[in-house]
Point group: C2
Chain length 733, copies 2
Amino acid sequence: MDNYLFFLAPAAAVIALAFAYFFYRQVIRLEEGTPKMVEIAQAVRRGAKAYIKQQYKIVIIFFIVACIFLMFLAFVLKVQSGWTPFAFLTGGFFSALAGFIGMITATLASARTTHQARTSLDQALRVAFRSGAIMGLVVVGLALLDIAIWFLVLQRFVLTPAGGPDYAKITVTMLSFGMGASLQALFARVGGGIYTKAADVGADLVGKVEAGIPEDDPRNPATIADNVGDNVGDVAGMGADLYESYAGSILSTAALGASAFAMVAGEMAFNAVILPMVIAGIGVLASIIGVFTVRTKEGATQKELLKSLGFGINVSSVIIILGSLGAVYLLLPGHMGVFGSIVVGLMVGIVVGKSVEYFTSESYRPTRGIAAKAETGEATVIIDGLSTGMISTAIPVLSIVAGIIGAFALAGGFNNAIMGLYGIGIAAVGMLSTLGMTLATDAYGPIADNAGGNAEMAGLEKKVRERTDALDSLGNTTAATGKGFAIGSAALTALALLAAYIEEVKAGIGHILQKAGEFTLGNLTITDAASLKEITIEKFMDVLNISLMNPKVIAGIFLGSMMAFLFSGLTMKAVGRAASDMVNEVRRQFREKPGIMDGSEQPDYQQCVLISTKGAQREMMLPSIMAVVVPIAVGLVFGIPGVMGLLAGALGSGFILAIFMANAGGAWDNAKKYIEQGNFGGKGSRAHKASVVGDTVGDPLKDTSGPSLNILIKLMSMVSIVVAGLSAGYSLL
Amino acid sequence: MDNYLFFLAPAAAVIALAFAYFFYRQVIRLEEGTPKMVEIAQAVRRGAKAYIKQQYKIVIIFFIVACIFLMFLAFVLKVQSGWTPFAFLTGGFFSALAGFIGMITATLASARTTHQARTSLDQALRVAFRSGAIMGLVVVGLALLDIAIWFLVLQRFVLTPAGGPDYAKITVTMLSFGMGASLQALFARVGGGIYTKAADVGADLVGKVEAGIPEDDPRNPATIADNVGDNVGDVAGMGADLYESYAGSILSTAALGASAFAMVAGEMAFNAVILPMVIAGIGVLASIIGVFTVRTKEGATQKELLKSLGFGINVSSVIIILGSLGAVYLLLPGHMGVFGSIVVGLMVGIVVGKSVEYFTSESYRPTRGIAAKAETGEATVIIDGLSTGMISTAIPVLSIVAGIIGAFALAGGFNNAIMGLYGIGIAAVGMLSTLGMTLATDAYGPIADNAGGNAEMAGLEKKVRERTDALDSLGNTTAATGKGFAIGSAALTALALLAAYIEEVKAGIGHILQKAGEFTLGNLTITDAASLKEITIEKFMDVLNISLMNPKVIAGIFLGSMMAFLFSGLTMKAVGRAASDMVNEVRRQFREKPGIMDGSEQPDYQQCVLISTKGAQREMMLPSIMAVVVPIAVGLVFGIPGVMGLLAGALGSGFILAIFMANAGGAWDNAKKYIEQGNFGGKGSRAHKASVVGDTVGDPLKDTSGPSLNILIKLMSMVSIVVAGLSAGYSLL
């Protein structure tokens, strides 16, 4: 251990957790309001806990099966390190823990936000935002702490023959930690996404349309389930999602760092490995400072509120830029271009975020155009939303392409390819470094949303709902920025993982060599670990034949593209089925308990919560299993080139399909809101009816299938990485 | 010229054209029916001619510009052969001619089919089917003739230093013929697709919904435009589309044949080059025989009609299998595996066709499921259609992947990669060889459709419309098979073009060498043509660095995937805009000529024809320009690896997006028909209304954007091939 800068990472992680606890104490100390408000909040909290418990039960079974499989790889086939199954488990455990803490905090914060909104807007913003920050800090704190601890442990035990730490092996082993995080994130996103949309659609179709009662009306049996959905989908799901993005970007970059400096002195390799962790550590501190700068005054306009949040984000960004300049200077002197890569990463995130905002905000032409089309009916709204969503993919793709080439070139990739790939990874780390802050602005949205629901159900005065609505609508805009970072970082991280895959293949061959004594790859026969080590990464890529003219690569690209579409189709169908169950249940309650409508009978909220829970559980299985099994199967049939093609195809199509779905859904949502503001006839008009159809179509696209795709891409990469040795040693073709 | 089997190709082409003329005389001799029927047919014919004239005016300008650009490449930059601009022009010219003849025949045949339907079903089927066969035979005849003539000419003039024909150069030059065909096809598909859907949507929205008059009612001002649309979109557009598929598969395979046997004796190279042409020639003869076997008897059920068409297709298939067994045996003895590739190609076409039928026919669960969802409203119909479309991509992708690997392996690709790629090309040729027959069953659909329109507008007895409806609905099922072949062959051809691209890059470098005397590629410096020739294709691919770890390749994959989405979004928007113009015009006529509804005033059909024509013209420009400019721009910025990535990305995403759009659109269409048959409440029910929305959303997806994507993929490949020398010599990065 030559450089004590490393300890910035665990230290920052601990500080983040301490602040999260401090904020938690602050929030918990506040009053929850009237008995009715407390009762509603409790019902939501109970429902959320019940769902999470059920979800984790299923996830645990999956993790046990996966763990046994990894042990089989490690101890029977001996194509993986023995540390892998345990790293995998902790990744999943901490991801689940981060999501759980974030979600519980959110359910504790909503009634308190409502209560504060009875006095002042500023107080309400502070509660909601600080609660969001708890989630943000817990996610980055736990991720960074786990990474740092594993690094310290493995550094002591995984050694080269010469006795020093074997950074190549250490970093690829740690990637299996990322697989745990990704697998748990996929369940959280898919399950949570199905839950929330089934409840939402069920509540709307029967409650709003058939019974004619307003949103969040306490007479609607599905209303608690709907509010639970916001917490399990938008909070717990998103938390787990960004936890895996964050961990994935740091881990893949560390692996590439070890590889880039494998041939140089040990110190540089160590420095390159810890650089992403150090930058993440600085980012955590920057986020905490940023959180403290967010405040507003009573009667603040939307613009002022936005400015307040924007100021916090900007403060964090400036700190991270200065901090990473210092970190690169201290750790990788002579490679200052790497700092350029970080700046490129941040810029890409901002541009993608702005483009998301342009295409989905009702302040701009695309969304207003969709609203205008509502006047000629449902079909034209849908066609225009679909085409707008497709066209909206252009700017993000162009930014990512510029970012890839820019980060690669600045880090010196055109002279040394692996350095360039390291640059791409570090760009993703830079983009995600202030996640503590951006996630706070993201998680705060559903808290404000729930606070509004609480105000409505508790029958508070109009003023309260107005204040929570102001907070909520603000959340929609800041969410666009958050989405930009999530999407952009997913693409860059997936690319870094693709590069790290090659490293893991090398490690896998190393394991096979120890067992078999010889390994043949193309026209190359390797007989010992020393000669394997000497093969440069360029030579290795040549031998692997991952060129576009290899039909296995092309087959992989086709299969990867298909996976993105198939997975989206399956998750959309799942929402449809789960929503049908909910519709039937709500209809049954209205039919069997006629007293619900006049308030003489209590609806059975619990039953609706149960229906959504069961539906989400049942439906999340098939898509999730597919995401794990397909990369293994492709590896067993088509070998390494097929897997590389699969990942590249899934990345290309999946990334674009995800933007298409997110933007089409967001634009339809806001086109409806624009009409509800009184345009094109306003609420109740023909155009409004058509725009509601658009919004409903967009719901599963933007809240279930779209966000899950980002995780799918990375989970498939993670699975491929962990089973690389199997694909290298046992493929059919 | 060692093998006279070659002459089978031009001979078969001439026979095909002779039979087309013979059928044309047969059709033209028949009566057109009542004066009213003649008048309507004339109006449609006039409209179609007027549109095509306008379209060709624009296309000619594009061709002149492109031709000047190609001359600049050939004579100023000297990175292309001087033959290229002329081959390019003939490709476009013959494609346009084939589409024109097919369309004129279709407009001549519709009233005659109606007239025959007044007497018997069998007679009507024969007229419609023979007219479709004219189109099929003209397409294959002109394509094969043009290819054969160019081959004969170039063989005499393009020689190696030793004096023999230089097959590598000859075949890559001929590929520019394919670029001409593709460019004209894109205009025909996009322009025709926008025309037909603008007219269709305009006629439906105002006529059916607002005025409440039935489909094809003569009082609807857009009804003639709607019928014209079937001819310019479904006939001329499809003809040009399959012309370019057919030519593209033969040309790319010939280029790969020259490359595969470049190092062997000259005779084998010649044989490998002519094999695709010979197989196409046998296919033409098989198609003619197949056409003659199609007949039916009066009162035949749908099933019997289908059996009759199926019998014709089977006869052709058996002949082509036996014929190509012989051809491979005679031309490439010792490479009988190539015959296996042909069989694989045919099988993939059949499986893809069956899967299209399963997902879009109302006889099966997916479409019935969408119809059932119509009971809960528009939103659920749309969501279910979108997800069904996405899920339906799985089987075609798995078949194509199996086909790629199978054709590659059988042709010996795992020992000699270039032979394997040749096998993939020849699989596409085999799949398309009976195009004369399958296109006849395709083109016959719109003729029967128009015949029904004619019967309706001319006010003929109900029996006639019933007969034409029987023919029309039959066409929908056979069209699924046709689509399977079109989609499958597009994927295989695009892959063959990707491989041929490498050849063209080599040729481009050859041109640069003649000028500059030296060329550096990666770490390789080439100083003379002889040493260039000696570089094996494998070595060449290595030097090009088209591995998935090259960020330029990844950037290209992102851009290619984006192109598929952006292009689809733009064409969908275009349909929306052109349809709005039509809606306004029809509304204006109903407003200003109140006598239209009671028959006292004549609607101005011509004005609607003009509106659709103008809209299609205006809107087809941007997407078409993009398809040509983007590959050139990517080549200039990212060089060869970027272009390869672009093509692979566009292939992966575009292929899958095309299937998604075609199947979702087809399933919505038939779900509506299923409800109209009396299910879920039948016509006029709540479910029917929702299913109409689904059908309208599907229209631009399945008839404009989806089919254009197949051409886009190949046009981008063709453009890249033709400008390969430019990308090799002048790229920025």
